[in-house]
Symmetry: C2
């Protein structure tokens, strides 16, 4: 389940992606336009900046802007920052792998095998969808073909 935090983050990023490149936008403006609690959004944007998704400037004429072109920021990257690994189970995660303490043998665990498939399917969508793709009304051509 996508957290509210991820949803807010994506909404903010999509708004920024629709601005002319380099244009600074205030937290307050984003919060108001997207109906997100101001202080909560601050935390979110701060984290995105620390992870290299956003660039910020303080003081007058300050604000936030994308640190990279909107084609180079994927949903997968954003959601991983906000919510952690995409995989439904830690043992099925590539980036955030953690052993299952209560499973007897990981190599033969059927649940893990299925969840690895799920994680791959999810990552295939989210890592191949950039902010630009989503704004250009969605789904890049390859994936649309695959889904049908």
């Amino acid at each position: 389940m996508l957290s509210q935090k991820s949803k807010y983050a994506l909404r903010a990023l999509l708004l920024l992606a629709r601005q002319p490149p380099g244009e600074m936008v205030l937290v307050g403006e984003i919060a108001e336009q997207q109906n997100v609690p101001h202080k909560f959004l601050e935390l979110i944007l701060l984290e995105l900046r620390k992870q290299g998704i956003l660039f910020s400037q303080r003081g007058r004429n300050g604000g936030y802007t994308l640190a990279r072109p909107k084609e180079a920021i994927t949903f997968g990257e954003v959601i991983r920052i906000m919510d952690g690994p995409l995989a439904p189970l830690p043992c099925a995660s590539v980036a955030g792998y953690r052993r299952c303490v209560d499973c007897q043998d990981e190599r033969t665990c059927e649940i893990r095998q299925v969840m690895c498939s799920v994680r791959n399917a999810v990552a295939d969508v989210l890592d191949n969808t950039s902010l630009a793709d989503a704004i250009a009304n969605g789904l890049s051509r390859e994936r649309t073909a695959l889904a049908s």
Copy 2:
């Protein structure tokens, strides 16, 4: 994220799927073999029975057994019973659709469009993987082909 409840449910079902058809197994046996809290597992199996996945018998010689052939029980069905809709957002769910109160226009919402793709990708894996598929070492042939 898959809940512990779903994981326990799947472990129990896979154990039952490995028995000779019709063989009754006690909650206690499952709990012990799979290292699941007994009373917690009771709740889980009870719910699976109510949803038509399991058949049970009380009293001496009682226990649980699959209510259907293991080929006819999918991961998707089980996880929906335990955790609810597969979609990462209510607005992207087919079975459990709920409107997004804080999104301005659902039809143009880019987040929703992407999450619909995710939900389809996930459902495609989970609704096409039965207990039997998983035990037969995984992934049915069609999906393996698709994933590559």
